[in-house]
Symmetry: C2
């Protein structure tokens, strides 16, 4: 047999890539707060300090994770009407971070450090300029777009501590029954919406609505209105 098949030890050689791999696995399995230098090290069968050869600090490691998500961005074609391009840019970002909701928060810091982040931002700023916004407004709206994408992805998910599936279910049910105890005369709408408040029935609709809402907001606020 070739050594690459038997010698798993040497196959387990550390590198930024495999560390990030494991970090993403860990985050997916037990939440971002479980991604600890020490836990990551034991998961990689290595000393905590081994990681510090490949990353200067833990923050740099987390940046690596964020960059990995941004690597997956598929930059959309930059043609067509600006609202459609704006939507395409947001969809591309959302699609890239959706597979890793636990680490989506980290993308914020890397957006202007990563080629894909820069490309999407440039695209957004182009749309917003075309829409007639000042550069100051455009800048704020573009970062708002990023924040919206992140919030959409993270909001759909486990978030509340590293609890998993079943634990989460009882937690949600507690929250629901607490809401159901509210006085019906003062909270009619809330009581009618308890189930919808507590858990999201249709994830796809959730993302669509979120992006739709955002783009509609820009269109509605744009100084130069779009001709039909």
């Amino acid at each position: 047999m070739s050594p690459t098949k038997t010698v798993t030890k040497s196959a387990n050689r550390l590198s930024r890539a495999v560390v990030v791999d494991r970090a993403l696995e860990l985050a997916a399995a037990e939440g971002l707060e479980a991604v600890t230098v020490r836990r990551l090290a034991t998961a990689l069968d290595v000393t905590p300090m081994a990681l510090y050869w490949h990353f200067r600090t833990k923050d740099e490691l987390l940046d690596g994770c964020a960059d990995r998500l941004l690597d997956g961005v598929e930059i959309p074609a930059d043609d067509g009407a600006w609202p459609e391009r704006m939507r395409a840019a947001m969809d591309a970002l959302v699609a890239a971070i959706r597979p890793h909701p636990q680490v989506a928060v980290l993308v914020d810091r890397r957006m202007l450090q990563h080629p894909s982040g820069l490309a999407l931002t440039e695209m957004a700023l182009g749309c917003l300029a075309e829409a007639g916004f000042s550069t100051a407004d455009a800048a704020q709206i573009s970062w708002h777009a990023l924040a919206t994408a992140i919030v959409l992805v993270t909001g759909d998910q486990v978030d509340d501590s590293g609890t998993q599936a079943d634990e989460r279910e009882v937690e949600l049910e507690q929250k629901a029954s607490l809401l159901r105890g509210l006085p019906p005369d003062r909270y009619p709408h809330l009581l009618a919406a308890v189930d919808d408040m507590v858990r999201c029935a249709d994830t796809e609709r959730f993302f669509d609505l979120g992006v739709e809402l955002f783009v509609a907001g820009i269109v509605g606020t744009a100084p130069k209105k779009r001709r039909s």
Copy 2:
């Protein structure tokens, strides 16, 4: 002299209220990650374990901080057209959490646990029902409103670690000069907007634009359009 004036020790008696006070001060001064059971204890001139008499866990303490922010909400009058009421609700929330940007993130978990949070949510759901949204959509939009308010407040601020004023300034300048090194042919809009991307010139405009954008999005997406 009366004992209340001289005996500062007994004036320093612990209570949930004074612990939350100090926690908010600490967060304001050095960031949320500086709010540690042990640091908070030394700031209060007390043993770390003293806090555990008043709060079952650190999370409960942080909930206390969030509740404090929500206590400050001024519930707006629930009359007028729904887009105006929606805006009033968002403005009220933003106004309440703006004074404590560092702890704004914590509000998310408490919104449906706190009277003011419930009142604002009920109001928002009422607006959205009037606008013709399904309860499912309304629920998602209302939590999106909350997320937007929080993101607006936290986005304006120190956020990147507990760095303060001057440190932050050099950090921003680094980011800016990095952006200025980009190829001008590929990133024309980005280069034109570097200063606006890196720091927010007009905070008031930032909040207005954020809320405006959100409400406009709802108006633009609403099944029942508003009659002028």
